[in-house]
């Protein structure tokens, strides 16, 4: 708990350091490549409290964070608060990432257990090979290929899925469900392709670690069938370390989401992040840096809290 709190504080500090201290004059950095009048510059300086000492600014900034005030974006003419923008875009991202994570977890665990259990077999080599290849392919390129093959008409079946966005503009009511689902297919496949490979490799090596254990020999000596030994004895133990490993790599899922949403113009957090970095809309980039980092840290805290419930050995 305390560790997570310190981590969050460190994120806040890095956010402050990156966006306020490192650029020298944050106002100049914020208004990069944009036309601003001198009065506007002065007003921004005043608003950010840049005339005060640094430690004072940091405390003010912490106070703002504590009240979930992440500043205002100026991409939207200063009318939109960063926190509000993020809240608005969370839904589509959760839909995309949730669907993809559930599919990846099921697929990755299933394949990981099978390949690890029969390591060295042809199916193990083929599956590990595919996973390693997907691991070497850039996510965004995979997305581009999906569009070319299944949306742009260059593939064998032209035009089956829409190339981007979350819905067609003229669709409303219940017709929205199949429409959104059709838009969801390609982004989810791309994200799954990236994420499941990771799960497969983690769970495979975790199963391999359990393979030589004495308790498996005991289970076999009891006369249990191979499938039962695997399902009842090996898998539950192999999944435990995988929980931590996967929690540590949540940042990878965030990265995958940003790229997939960018490629498919999916109107979620990742796409907004891309739009913000193009401008660049520094308050929005800063806010999203803090949001993504905090989300990942909190998920890790959750994994730490759940772990003792799953594994009686670490319960005291």
């Amino acid at each position: 708990m305390l560790g997570a709190f310190i981590s969050l504080l460190a994120v806040a500090f890095i956010g402050f350091f990156l966006f306020r201290v490192l650029p020298g004059d944050p106002v100049r950095a914020m208004t990069q490549d944009r036309k601003v009048s001198l009065e506007q510059l002065e007003a921004l300086r005043e608003q950010l409290g840049l005339d005060e000492p640094l430690w004072r600014q940091f405390l003010d900034y912490l106070g703002q964070l504590a009240t979930l005030d992440l500043g205002t974006s100026y991409q939207y003419r200063g009318a939109e608060s960063v926190a509000g923008l993020i809240a608005e875009k969370v839904g589509p991202t959760v839909l995309l990432v949730g669907t993809a994570t559930v599919i990846s977890a099921v697929l990755g665990t299933w394949l990981g257990v099978r390949t690890g259990w029969r390591h060295g077999s042809t199916s193990d080599r083929v599956n590990t090979g595919i996973a390693l290849t997907l691991w070497s392919v850039p996510t965004f390129w995979l997305g581009l290929m999906m569009i070319i093959l299944f949306a742009a008409g260059a593939g064998p079946i032209p035009d089956i899925f829409p190339a981007g966005g979350m819905r067609d503009p003229d669709v409303t009511g219940w017709a929205l469900v199949p429409n959104v689902a059709a838009h969801l297919v390609l982004p989810v496949i791309t994200l799954v392709a990236v994420v499941y490979a990771q799960y497969l490799l983690v769970i495979r090596s975790s199963v391999l670690d359990e393979m030589g254990s004495d308790y498996l020999v005991t289970a076999r000596a009891k006369g249990l069938r191979d499938a039962v030994v695997r399902r009842r004895h090996a898998v539950p133990n192999a999944l435990l370390p995988a929980v931590t490993m996967i929690a540590i790599d949540l940042g990878g899922i965030v990265a995958g989401t940003i790229l997939v949403e960018t490629v498919f113009s999916w109107p979620g957090l990742g796409y907004m992040f891309y739009e913000a970095l193009k401008v660049p809309d520094l308050p929005l980039v800063q806010g999203m840096f803090i949001f993504f980092s905090a989300a990942v840290i909190l998920m890790n805290l959750l994994a730490d809290l759940v772990y003792p419930l799953l594994d009686p050995r670490v319960r005291r």
Binding site: I14, P23, P138, W141, A151, A163, I258, L259, Q286, F289
Partner: protein, 302 residues
Amino acid sequence: MSTPTVAGPRRLAWVRRGRTLLRFWREFRRNRAGVVGLVLLVGACVLALVAPFFISDAELSVTKAPGPLVAEPSWDYPLGTDKFGRSILDLIWQGSRVSLTVGFLATFMSVVLGTVIGIAAGHYRGWVESLLMRFTDWVLVLPTLVLAISLVVVMGRGLGTIIIAIGVTAWPVTARLVRAQTLAVEARPFIERARALGGGHWHVMTRHVLPNVMPIVLARTTLLVASTIIAESTLAFLGLSDPSRVSWGTTLQEARDAGATSAGLWWWIVPPGVAIALVALAFTMVGRALEQVYNPRLRERR
């Protein structure tokens, strides 16, 4: 060949090093994927080095490129051309220079960071160790792409900032591996001997620990290059690189901005991605082979 009787200690050391290298090569050669990856890598590096002798500036110029605009692959342009009439094959060839250079430099930076932090944490123990490892775990958990993007956005886009951004975000795994290995090395008696003979912290760390963690660092470096090359292409694709320098990522970014995906111009999209994937895969295969040579525990399972 000199007679062994006149061999001094220095020469002996070299002979021994040569023998170790030979043994290492024999072990490495057994891993077929590793050898294939190595051949691919050497080929890619040689091609990247000789690129300027085959491609003139005019052929890569946005205004003076000789080819037809957005042409399909043909005999003259085996991989087609882009919207400026540049040959895609030339772009990939030239782009390999930036992609490999950024990959190597960013990897070097992160490996140096990771090794220094790892050795320091493993050597000093106590509060230094717990502080450094807390910090490492914290960076490890952070979404690195978001951090790298933020760094580039704040520092201004360009090749240099990309290298720094990847370098300062990719070191934690190296640091953890190096620390574990440092702990193992420090427990061995020759460290005690070095201390007893009056070796200080610096001496022990640089003369005894560092040479012994190098194999792990080498394997890790090779694996890391694969991910830094992908990271470079990712940042370039997001438009954070120097647009005037051709790389695999910027080629893909230009293709997407020109609407190549929705128009189905596959010859503009497929080759850069294949190039990235091949090189990344080659580094991964070599890295895994190196790991197996140095870590016999991995060898038997494959």
